[in-house]
């Protein structure tokens, strides 16, 4: 669904412990600067590999954890059409997780290792999923805002320098734009509905607006790896640039359906041709990054439970495959 570099404020910056061969490094930098794709068997600096594994696996984890807040409403969707669309959408997120784990595996880290890092709290996932889905309108808000933010982030990643990641993003982006539209369509129906539905819609926008614009990550001056990531074409635009783009696109969409963006400082700046917006509560963001989001515990509990309770199934599948292979070999 979404990725940006998530690190605790206190976490050490990227280690420069590995000394790379200057000639290879130079050749690599030149290829990336020329917008060549780097493929799994190509030489790459260790820091590039590490950054990518972290970013792609965070992205994959975000997809998987992101299934939970929306999954919370599949069994309660209000009609058959909405139920089918939501189930298909959440299934898409699972599919995205799968391609992304596969893309990260090409860098030499197994899916099991990445999942273990998630469950033990070493790996991060998007902060947005640590907020609860209280009403049906939250499903609209997530599609509209969270997937909308994801698109802003991911469209440039289709040209990211690592080939498997870029190709995964091409497919993911197509699906995300359908997700964004279905979310906005839900909000549109609610905003034109009964008083109770309008209240749900506005309340959802109030709760999801700020977390959505925080999804782009810390402001550029506090985003130490941005310059390096942009040079390596792992990132193509800065957090603040993407955030501004998202706000500029989304505010008129809210107005079009009669909802109010919960930012009293929001004003159109004619000179910049963009909206000025109010101060973001970064303490809130860092608290959620630290794992103190309102439902962070529930999310991790659900993931760990599914994984642990599924262990016997995975063992059975492996045992059966081994038996089957042994029988074939004996024949």
């Amino acid at each position: 669904m979404y990725t940006t570099e998530l690190k605790d404020k206190n976490q050490a910056p990227q280690s420069a412990a590995v000394v790379e061969d200057p000639a290879r490094l130079e050749a690599f930098e030149a290829r990336v600067a020329a917008d060549d794709f780097i493929e799994p068997k190509d030489w790459m600096p260790e820091a590039y590999r590490k950054t990518l594994v972290r970013q792609i696996s965070q992205h994959a984890h975000s997809e998987i954890v992101g299934m939970l807040p929306e999954g919370n409403w599949i069994t309660r969707a209000p009609n058959l059409r909405r139920k089918a669309i939501l189930l298909a959408k959440v299934q898409d997120e699972g599919g995205h997780g799968l391609y992304l784990y596969a893309a990260a595996e090409t860098l030499g880290t197994s899916r099991e290792e990445m999942i273990d890092a998630l469950h033990s709290g070493r790996a991060k996932y998007s902060t947005i999923f640590n907020y609860p889905t209280l009403t049906w309108a939250d499903i609209g808000a997530i599609g509209w805002l969270v997937d909308g933010a994801a698109i802003m982030n991911q469209v440039p990643l289709q040209r990211t320098s690592y080939g498997p990641y870029a190709r995964a993003m091409v497919r993911i982006c197509k699906e995300e734009s359908f997700h964004q539209r279905q979310g906005y369509e839900i909000m549109t129906a609610l905003a034109a509905g009964t008083d109770a539905q309008k209240r749900m819609a506005q309340d959802a926008l109030n709760r999801w607006w700020w977390p959505s614009i925080m999804m782009f990550g810390p402001p550029d001056e506090n985003s130490p790896n941005t310059a390096q990531s942009i040079r390596w074409r792992i990132k193509r635009e800065t957090n603040d640039e993407l955030r501004q783009k998202f706000i500029d696109v989304t505010v008129p969409q809210a107005e079009a359906i009669g909802l109010t963006v919960p930012d009293p400082d929001l004003t159109w700046n004619e000179a910049r041709g963009s909206y000025d917006y109010g101060a973001i509560d970064w303490d809130e963001f860092y608290a959620v990054v630290r794992g103190e989001g309102p439902v962070a515990k529930e999310r991790m509990q659900a993931r760990v439970k599914a994984w642990e309770e599924g262990a016997w199934v995975r063992e059975a599948a492996a045992a059966h495959a081994a038996k089957h292979q042994a029988r074939e070999a004996a024949e």
């Binding site: 309660r76 209000p78 699972g94 799968l98 839900i186 059975a316 599948a317």
Partner: protein, 257 residues
């Protein structure tokens, strides 16, 4: 329903509800797994099956609404009926339990539904025939998926074998109901709208026996069937499922979504 013999539309309503409710309730059950399955690949497969079933339900319930002629659409039927008016078999409303119990339910059901839809593909009711012709392809995949997992779990580890045996034991008592024919269906069989499901039993028994053999599981012992779903007398589980599924439509009866 016996008194309505001759009033074909109402029999068709009842029959289309049976077909639609089976798919709807099982689709609802499978959607409970979404995000919580034992592995990502399984999560995607169960969601696929659930989506197919919800799609089938939408078609069959729309047909039921038309046959009834009282202005109820598929959503009105899915979200505004209570337990006594649901016509699904008891098997599909059984709780997911663990993954083995879910697979045992899918195994018994999808192999049955595949045979049923194969036959309904030539129904004299063209709407039923069209839905069945499309759905039989989907259901053939559901049956294959379930059969493969039956073998994997049955012939996997001692734990998976024991869990599957217990899941099958839970579900087995509901299998006879799948082949039940009552007075509401007889006239539809006579007119070629419904298929005579009793005739498909030997074929289904053969599939079940073959898969259980490959899964190294014993065929459960014969026992008294638990029935009632087709006349609205369900297990206790259905009411809870409906409470959740119908919550928004019940809480906001005037709203459009």
């Amino acid at each position: 329903m016996t008194k309505l013999v001759g009033v074909k539309e109402n029999l068709l309503f009842d029959y289309a509800c049976r077909l639609g409710d089976d798919s709807l309730i099982l689709g609802q059950r499978l959607s409970e797994w979404c995000g919580h399955a034992p592995m990502l690949e399984v999560d995607l497969s169960l969601a696929n099956v659930g989506l197919d079933l919800i799609g089938q339900a939408t078609h069959f319930l729309a047909l039921a609404g038309e046959a009834e002629g009282k202005g109820r659409d598929a959503d009105a039927l899915a979200f505004r009926r209570d337990v006594l008016d649901f016509r699904n078999c008891l098997l599909v409303e059984q709780p997911n339990g663990d993954f083995a119990q879910t697979i045992a339910r899918q195994f018994l059901f999808s192999n049955w539904q595949e045979l049923l839809f194969r036959e309904l593909g030539t129904s004299t009711n063209l709407a039923i025939a069209a839905i069945a012709q499309k759905a039989v392809k989907e259901v053939a995949y559901h049956a294959r998926l379930a059969n493969e997992w039956m073998v994997r779990l049955g012939d996997g580890t001692a734990e998976s074998h024991a869990r599957l045996a217990s899941g099958l034991d839970w579900m087995w008592r509901f299998s006879d109901e799948l082949f039940e024919v009552d007075a509401a269906i007889e006239p539809l069989i006579a007119s070629g709208v419904a298929c005579d499901i009793r005739k498909l039993r030997p074929e289904w028994d053969g599939i079940v026996a073959r898969v259980l053999r490959d899964a190294t599981l014993d065929l459960p012992k014969p026992r008294r069937a638990t029935v009632g779903g087709r006349s609205g007398h369900h297990s206790e589980h259905l009411g809870h499922l409906l409470t959740e599924m119908q919550f928004l439509q019940r809480a906001y009866p005037d709203a459009k979504w």
